[in-house]
Subunit: 410 residues, 2 copies
């Protein structure tokens, strides 16, 4: 560990191959935005694109836009663009609905691939929605849920395990699991597995095809910058698609949606994962937002992410006595965030926000800082850490206006 300095942060910015990408975003002046892992910043060209879609396509072309302006193909086209960022060849990712809904789809369909097995394994520390949906699907299908940390999955794998559902990166601690090894272990036990890439897509390369993943879901409003509540996505490996038996049998997933048949026949390929009519305006914002990735190498994105999180860990060790990290020191084992464990984390988070440093609080004691590599500078991270140091040293968080209320969480 080298003791960091502001000039080393400046030097890192000068050498940053992604420095020019920041200009693609509308970052408000006076804000250091360390919450791109909750809601990504606005790509600057998105408003103009939405204006065209609303006034030109909806307002003028009206219903003919489904064909004339490619609305019908949007979930597939956006899906393929996301797929390219997480290592999925075209035809395996579909965009639509929320992550919760996509989890329900994938968990049910994967369990149906292993009808003679009756155990569903998930992470007892995973994001709540992942756990709630696992319980709901288990109840509907008569499965038993076993909770275990991804690092201990081998201890519970046996021939009754139908499926496993883990996040690639822990939303709270930022710990990144060994996806290739876990996938391999699950397959060796004859089970299938889905990855939740909410905290991975857009900030690191991920080789869904390469590791032989069965399925995945992901969120589009964090590092993909698709806007608030941007439609989520699911990935199903091509080899499973023909047997995919999904519970949300919406009309758009029918083999011939325009034939208006009374019985469901699923479409071929990933299009069977279409459900109802998708939220076109939100999906168009996401489609436009993805443009910022068009010329980027995800390995370069990841390298900057590692440098930013390393800067935080080094700074904390050197200048923030009493503050520990819930995020692993080994860069291979962390995502694009650092969660600092400290007393009065809620109040400290509020005090930082009041000074323009936007992070978030995760109960009970975490200040969670996300590092979106596309638009953050090393030096602004340095300056934010100096503000944190000052807030802690002066105990300015004791101001009553920073007392606990509700903070939005995702």
């Amino acid at each position: 560990m080298s003791e960091p300095t502001r000039s080393s942060a400046e030097a890192a910015d000068a050498a940053d191959p992604l420095a020019h990408v920041r200009a693609r975003f509308a970052i408000p002046a006076g804000t250091t935005y360390l919450d791109g892992n909750s809601l990504g910043a606005l790509p600057a060209h998105v408003p103009a694109r939405l204006k065209t879609v609303i006034e030109g396509e909806w307002g003028t072309d009206l219903v003919t836009s489904w064909n004339a302006n490619g609305w019908w193909e949007l979930p597939v086209r956006v899906g393929d663009r996301i797929g390219a960022l997480v290592g999925a060849a075209p035809g395996q990712v579909l965009c639509g609905d929320s992550t919760s809904v996509q989890l329900f789809q994938v968990l049910t369909a994967l369990a149906r691939l292993r009808p003679d097995r009756h155990t569903l394994i998930t992470d007892g520390a995973g994001f709540p929605t992942d756990q709630y949906l696992a319980d709901s699907v288990a109840r509907l299908l008569g499965l038993t849920v076993v909770r275990v940390s991804p690092s201990d999955v081998e201890s519970v794998l046996d021939d009754d395990v139908a499926l496993v559902a883990f996040s690639a990166v822990d939303y709270r601690t930022g710990e990144r699991w060994d996806a290739p090894a876990i996938t391999e272990a699950v397959h060796a036990a004859g089970a299938v597995l889905t990855w939740d890439l909410a905290h991975a897509a857009g900030c690191m390369p991920f080789g869904l095809d390469e590791i032989g993943a069965d399925a995945a879901v992901g969120c589009s409003y964090k590092y993909l910058n698709g806007g608030p509540g941007a439609p989520a996505w699911l990935y199903v490996a091509q080899r499973h698609q023909d047997a995919l038996d999904l519970p949300l049998t919406g009309w758009q997933g029918h083999a011939e949606p325009f034939a208006l048949e009374p019985s469901y026949r699923p479409a071929g390929g990933i299009e069977r994962a279409r459900v109802g009519t998708p939220p076109l305006l939100s999906m168009t914002a996401l489609d436009a937002a993805l443009d910022v990735f068009d010329d980027l190498d995800m390995n370069v994105v990841r390298a900057k992410s590692e440098a930013l999180t390393q800067l935080v860990l080094d700074y904390a060790a050197a200048y923030l006595p009493g503050v520990t990290s819930a995020t692993p020191a080994d860069p291979r084992r962390r995502g694009s965030q650092v969660s600092l464990r400290l007393e009065h984390a809620y109040e400290v988070t509020q005090a930082l926000i009041a000074r323009g440093v936007i992070g978030d609080f995760r109960a009970p004691d975490l200040l969670r800082l996300g590092f979106a590599p596309l638009y953050l500078r090393h030096v602004e991270v340095w300056d934010a850490l100096e503000i944190l140091r000052d807030v802690l040293a002066t105990e300015s968080w004791r101001d009553p206006s920073f007392a606990r209320g509700n903070a939005a969480v995702t």
Copy 2:
């Protein structure tokens, strides 16, 4: 029946209490838009509202908008506004997801209210998604699906019927069912019932509370003009909410979503129907779109709808030999559309579109014309019918460019 004339249409426009409402919409010049039952027209003020939300709330306030700009409350606030248009007191309607997803929620939860019964009744001529989801839910819960026309529901009601799922208006023929009588019959048999108001909300009053409805779902992009794929909504009568056992147990429906508990505990009231993070941009467009209804009386809206559909039926009887109506002549038995049965309906629909009259085709032989009372004039409907008469008389639909392809359908 009185034989209609252009001057009687002009007189109706002159006396139209909704004439001023048309100016609230951006209707493209040269278009007579008779497809507002598929995708409603753009309310003129929506683009400015979206610009504010995208640039000001997402772009500038970023994640703090969940609290600062009321994003968290949006599904409830929009739900209540829709509720006001369909006769639901506040706290019973929630906005989010697609109609297909909401149907899955409601069908599953209603079936769970009657665990000792094992039959689900639906309309074998209903919109495909309604039938597909009924089959999917029945399979998951071990129910048997019985298909019957809403008008014949009493013939299949017995003490094994758990739930009934009907549309208030047939999407194809425009036939409107007797919702109060059907609801009463279903309740008399000890079952519960959900109404699909896709083709009712926004074009007629509907008394969900008054008729004692158990549940309902609806679409927001037809007569509510919420934009392409605008989030749908569900209604659950207050008396059922505490027992409501929904399958999509997303984190936003938790009693304490910010406590990040590992087990699901549903929120009180309609908020338990929240699932994942909703598509905020699409939902904001819908919220803004609903403004056009703020000072309108749905009885006045309905009266104009009846006048417009009557004009079409009278015109067809007088001037369109060989064309019959699939829509009932009794105004009390029709929605806000007229479906004309004619040979070569597909080609005729295309020929009309080429002349600026936008309707749609429904297999096998229907020209479906929707009449959004908020922005249509009687005289433009008259002129559109004159074009139809000309297309049929001259057989201009035989132009090969009008041959069958795929048309978007909802």
